[in-house]
């Protein structure tokens, strides 16, 4: 199929040949009207000049309209292309006005000579030539100039009475008026046409810039699936030139299965009559599998009839691959976290069980050591001297300490064993009960107790009781030296942690050692000041950890301590809800 450009060039050349031949025969016919050789020679020269002027102008206009060799856009009819020849170009105004003036004056001169052969007729029809050419080339302004010059000149020089603007005969006046009217109409029409062509051309160029500039494939198919338009990107995706795609359907671009699928999809979109966006997975003819994000929709003609389908398609194979990769990595990570968590939980559980069993099994030998030492003291008092007795007492003391440690560590491990069963616990009531209990043990203690009403926490009832007991016992223990002891339980804040606080005005401790506070067997006071094995706050910490909560303490030596805890209201990660 020859390109539009070739066809256009052929059309213009053929048109020129026909018109030029016609000119030769007709104008030579014209010369036969004249008898004198002088007129014939002059006219012959004049018509030659006129022909050159007219054909040069026509060439100028036609060459402007020649379409470029490569068009990615729509096919346009030849006449539409020809029409673009008169669209406003970059010709300077002075040139078009001068052209109008010169060609009109030239026609005046020609008319003057021709009139001799035609019995001094005005020959106004001749001036349609310069007016038409001027209007086509320059639009309204040059057209009007040509009309005005022609009208004034013929009125003065050609229409009787000559050398006067007065027109005597009414048929001359009519002809003259028609010339002016024609000139004005031609100029206006030419201007309107030029402007609308300019607008259309601008729109076409913008659209073309967008379509051919984008890296997305843009295409239009007819109702049979044949491509009417395809930009360079569309052609590039299937490895062809745009010209190789136009007029063909998907069967020439993709393997049969893919093509069938595509064409069925297109038909579905056209039947639905709606624009939609979706992903297409296509195997190109070279076997590459590509993923596209495609927007397709129907194309309608001016009467609203569906004439095809447009598509804008972006290749997202890499992005898609990356997305899949991210998804895969994420799920792998998730899987790994789950596995590691399970492994850790299992390892932790085994360690706890080992610690528990180990500690538990220490009880029998400790009991035996203490038991047999006691039996020595009880049953063999007669044969044991004072020094041996002192040594036995030390064994008994060490044994007692060991027993205390074992019971402490067992309590620590035991307190968080088993299933965590969360419920809302009335901390105020629990604290009051624990104070009552400890108060019954030491009724002689003078102590002010302030428990805020309505404190609640969500947790395991048994664990929270153990935890609160340690906190209450501690506060009780460390205020034992004060006559004005005050212990408060309230909703408050320690180091930015908002929760339930228990504060006393007892011995307190140095914050420099705060990090040891919640570790097992760490004591911040001498045994003769306050007895204990340093397991209480470690137990509290374990219970808080088991609940996924947080715990903080603030204190100063001699100024009391405040311990604040917070428990989450919802189950934590890795725990059944």
């Amino acid at each position: 199929m020859p390109s539009v450009r070739k066809r256009f060039i052929l059309l213009v050349s053929a048109g020129y040949a026909v018109l030029a031949l016609a000119w030769i025969f007709l104008s030579d016919q014209l010369l036969s009207v004249f008898a004198d050789i002088e007129s014939i020679v002059w006219l012959s020269t004049a018509k030659g000049v006129l022909f050159v002027v007219i054909s040069a102008t026509a060439f100028f206009l036609c060459l402007r309209a020649v379409p470029p060799a490569e068009t990615g856009g729509t096919e346009r009819p030849l006449l539409e292309i020809l029409a673009t020849s008169i669209s406003p170009g970059r010709l300077p105004a002075w040139l078009t006005y001068s052209f109008a003036l010169v060609i009109t004056l030239a026609m005046l001169a020609l008319r003057d000579r021709l009139a001799i052969g035609f019995g001094d007729q005005a020959l106004l029809i001749l001036f349609m030539f310069p007016i038409t050419l001027s209007a086509m080339l320059g639009g309204f302004g040059p057209g009007i100039v040509s009309t005005a010059v022609a009208a004034l000149a013929v009125a003065y020089l050609a229409i009787p009475p000559v050398n006067s603007f007065h027109i005597k005969a009414s048929h001359d006046l009519l002809q003259w008026s028609v010339l002016i009217a024609n000139g004005i109409v031609l100029s206006v029409l030419s201007e309107v046409l030029r402007r609308s062509l300019a607008t259309a051309e601008l729109n076409r160029r913008l659209l073309d810039a967008a379509v051919s500039g984008t890296s997305d494939a843009v295409f239009v198919k007819d109702t049979q699936g044949r491509y009417l338009l395809a930009n360079a990107a569309a052609a590039g995706f299937v490895g062809k030139a745009p010209g190789e795609i136009i007029g063909h359907d998907d069967r020439s671009l993709f393997p049969d299965a893919s093509a069938q699928e595509l064409m069925a999809l297109d038909q579905a979109i056209m039947s639905a009559g709606r624009t939609q966006t979706h992903e297409e997975h296509l195997t190109a003819l070279d076997g590459k599998v590509l993923t596209f994000l495609v927007t397709k929709g129907p194309v309608f003609d001016e009467s609203g009839r569906m004439v095809g389908l447009f598509g804008i398609s972006r290749e997202i194979s890499e992005r898609k691959q990356a997305e899949n990769e991210i998804r895969r990595l994420n799920s792998e990570l998730e899987q790994r976290v789950t596995e590691r968590t399970a492994e850790l939980q299992s390892a932790n559980f085994e360690l706890e069980e080992l610690a528990y069993a180990l500690t538990h099994n220490l009880r029998a030998p400790v009991r035996a050591i203490g038991g047999f030492a006691q039996l020595l003291i009880d049953d063999h008092a007669g044969v044991i001297d004072g020094d041996a007795k002192a040594c036995l007492d030390q064994i008994m003391q060490a044994n007692c300490n060991m027993g205390g440690l074992i019971e402490g560590i067992l309590a620590l491990l035991r307190c968080t064993r088993g299933e965590l069963q969360r419920e809302i616990i009335d901390i105020s009531a629990l604290a009051n009960r624990l104070f009552d209990e400890i108060g019954n043990v030491e009724p002689q203690r003078q102590l002010t107790r302030k428990v805020e009403a309505g404190l609640t926490a969500c947790g395991d009832a048994a664990m929270l009781e153990v935890m609160m007991k340690h906190l209450v016992d501690n506060a009780w223990k460390f205020t034992s030296g004060r006559a004005d002891a005050v212990i408060s339980v309230f909703s408050g804040e320690v180091n930015g942690l908002q929760g339930i606080c228990i504060a006393d005005n007892g011995a307190g401790f140095d914050m420099a050692h705060a990090e040891r506070l919640f570790q097992p067997f760490q004591r911040l006071h001498r045994h003769d000041e306050f007895p204990g094995i340093g397991i209480g706050l470690a137990t509290v910490q374990r219970i808080i950890n088991r609940h996924g909560g947080d715990l903080r303490a603030i204190a100063a030596p001699g100024a009391g301590a405040t311990i604040c805890f917070v428990l989450p209201r919802t189950p934590q990660y890795g725990e059944a809800p």
Binding site: H360, R363, A364, P365, V366, R367, A368, G370, G371, F372, Q374, L375, C400, G403, I406, E407, L410, R414
Partner: protein, 145 residues
């Protein structure tokens, strides 16, 4: 009235020795038989295995049974005793170091008559064992009468 006696099932030699000494002080020592694992306990009570010659006619007044025993555990021994009509009513006291809730529950489910934890402190331990001996041999009335 048959002779009153205790069967002590205990695998820890030192605990055994301590228990025997405590019971001796309350004059109960010549009424005690000791076996050292669960299988022995079952054989003793049913007159089987190494105790095949022992007359079944003399069941102990009470069995002091540890839980963590070699071969058969204390809980398994208890289960077998309760499953057999001859020993269904045999008084059994679980005397153990275990402080697991589930051991205590299983013991009662399997029909233990009492569950006593061995205190860590020897003085408490001695008091507990002495009280047990006196209670089961003197105070308590056995089912067989």
């Amino acid at each position: 009235m048959s002779r009153k006696s205790i069967l002590l099932v205990e695998d820890n030699a030192q605990d055994e020795m301590l228990i025997l000494r405590v019971l001796k002080k309350v004059n109960l020592v010549n009424t005690i038989e000791v076996v050292r694992d669960g299988q022995q306990a079952v054989d003793y009570l049913f007159g089987e295995g190494e105790f095949a010659g022992r007359a079944r006619a003399e069941p102990p007044t009470v069995v002091l049974l540890d839980i963590g025993l070699p071969r058969l555990s204390g809980l398994e021994v208890l289960e077998r005793l309760r499953a057999d009509p001859r020993t269904r009513l045999q008084p059994v006291v679980i005397l153990t170091s275990s402080d697991e809730d589930r051991d205590r529950l299983r013991s009662y489910e399997n029909g233990a008559n009492s569950f006593v934890r061995k205190p860590l402190d020897f003085t408490e331990f001695a008091e507990t064992v002495a009280r047990l001996g006196v209670y089961w041999l003197v105070t308590n009335e056995a089912p067989q009468g």
